[in-house]
Symmetry: C2
């Protein structure tokens, strides 16, 4: 099934589950929707923090149809699940946004780590949380994001344990995808970026780090959501974790060359 | 001399010439300044057209001091020459902006082709306009930029003749610098992108294309200036051609990995 066929199936309500593994080879995207009044500061935030916030598309205010990343798509209906927040409080988890959409809303689509995980697998690098069938572990770090207007906060990272001999290769492979978080932001000792216990992630599930493996950390797309949530803006809408937007872009389009 | 020393010399009025070749190894930047009321649409324009508009920094409204690309710099004084436009008409060419700066102005700093030209030279690839001591030839193409609000128009490209056996190498070398326009947008027949006569560039100077050389075209930083100018916005300020902002960033920082 093509990305367009998956989006149509999701639009009809026939698929409400996570999107991992659907339409392999095509990039999936994080969704963050904010009112136009805050969109400028949020866009500057993304420009200043491109590793956690790699922008694939910014829609025109009020227009739910992305123009460049997916033909014929509707961001109000084409993701399996959404979360709606008012002043920082989750008020609804819904399968479409028809009753929440407004003429002043701007949607930000951001590259997602699925793209570089596929590249890792193609390069023979194991991805532990996929093997274990759990969510990737994510941690709030002491690395500050560069602030913009009201948006500020720490970078959230994801962690994947990598066999030591493969660490150079994983840097090389993931750095090819700057629009999917790019290369790691940290390799090795978690304490250096303020993580006390790898077995207690702030989001997602813990995974085993085996003898001879190095914990490697990437900027995570949860960062902009966490930052937007923390500012308690009037209305914030995001995809539900793991329930991404399936674009028409190839994973290779996220190499930005 | 370091970038900071060059900026100080320029600030004191001791250097008003072009900046090509100053502080080698450090990235220079295009400057575009617009009022806050238009900054959002212009920022989205840059996001949608990253090859002609590779953003290095967006300043806070009214703040003439970049925070991330140059320590202690002042964008009102630290470029050798500026151009000021009102409603699309050039009203002044000045060596500082002290009498034009306003509390609502936002500065955009964009990567510049000097960065990849240095990389070409290091890789043994000739750069004809540098050899000839003239400006790079630039052409208005039929490649449309993706519009944003009032900002729209064709992409402007620069052209460098490359010996045929070196074309793969020049693609590889320049693609490493996505924040300095990245790899070429077109290789070969100029007519395919709407250029009728290579010897009649729209900006800059013509250069010789010798037997066995292929014309290679890169997205050019003149694009956002031309587009902003075309929209006849109230106030637009840019660097004067060739009189760039010298940043503290290394050329290698523009690899965006």
């Amino acid at each position: 099934m093509t990305p367009a066929q998956w989006r149509e199936r999701i639009r009809r309500g026939e698929w409400t589950g996570p999107t991992a593994g659907l339409a392999p080879g095509y990039a999936q995207a994080n969704l963050v929707i904010v009112p136009r009044g805050l969109a400028y500061d949020f866009l500057v935030f993304c420009q200043r923090n491109p590793k956690p916030c790699p922008l694939l598309e910014v829609t025109d205010p009020g227009d739910p149809h992305p123009r460049y990343t997916a033909q014929g798509a509707d961001l109000r209906t084409d993701l399996p699940k959404y979360r709606v927040y008012e002043r920082g409080v989750l008020i609804a988890e819904v399968t479409d946004l028809m009753s929440y959409w407004r003429e002043d809303l701007v949607a930000f689509l951001l590259g997602c780590s699925f793209t570089f995980e596929h590249a890792m697998l193609r390069a023979g690098i194991p991805v532990r949380h996929i093997e274990a069938g759990v969510n990737v572990p994510m941690y709030i770090t002491t690395i500050p994001c560069k602030p913009s207007g009201p948006f500020q906060g720490p970078m959230v990272v994801s962690m994947r344990p990598i066999p030591a001999p493969l660490v150079p290769r994983v840097v090389h492979v993931t750095s090819r995808y700057p629009l999917a978080h790019g290369g790691p932001v940290h390799i090795g000792d978690p304490k250096e970026i303020g993580i006390r216990d790898l077995q207690k992630p702030d989001f997602g599930d813990p995974v085993e780090v085996r003898e001879g493996e190095i914990p490697v950390f990437w900027a995570c797309g949860v960062t902009p959501q966490a930052v937007a949530l923390h500012t308690k803006i009037d209305l914030l809408i995001t995809h539900a974790p793991g329930h991404m937007f399936i674009t028409d872009l190839l994973d290779e389009d996220l190499t930005f060359t």
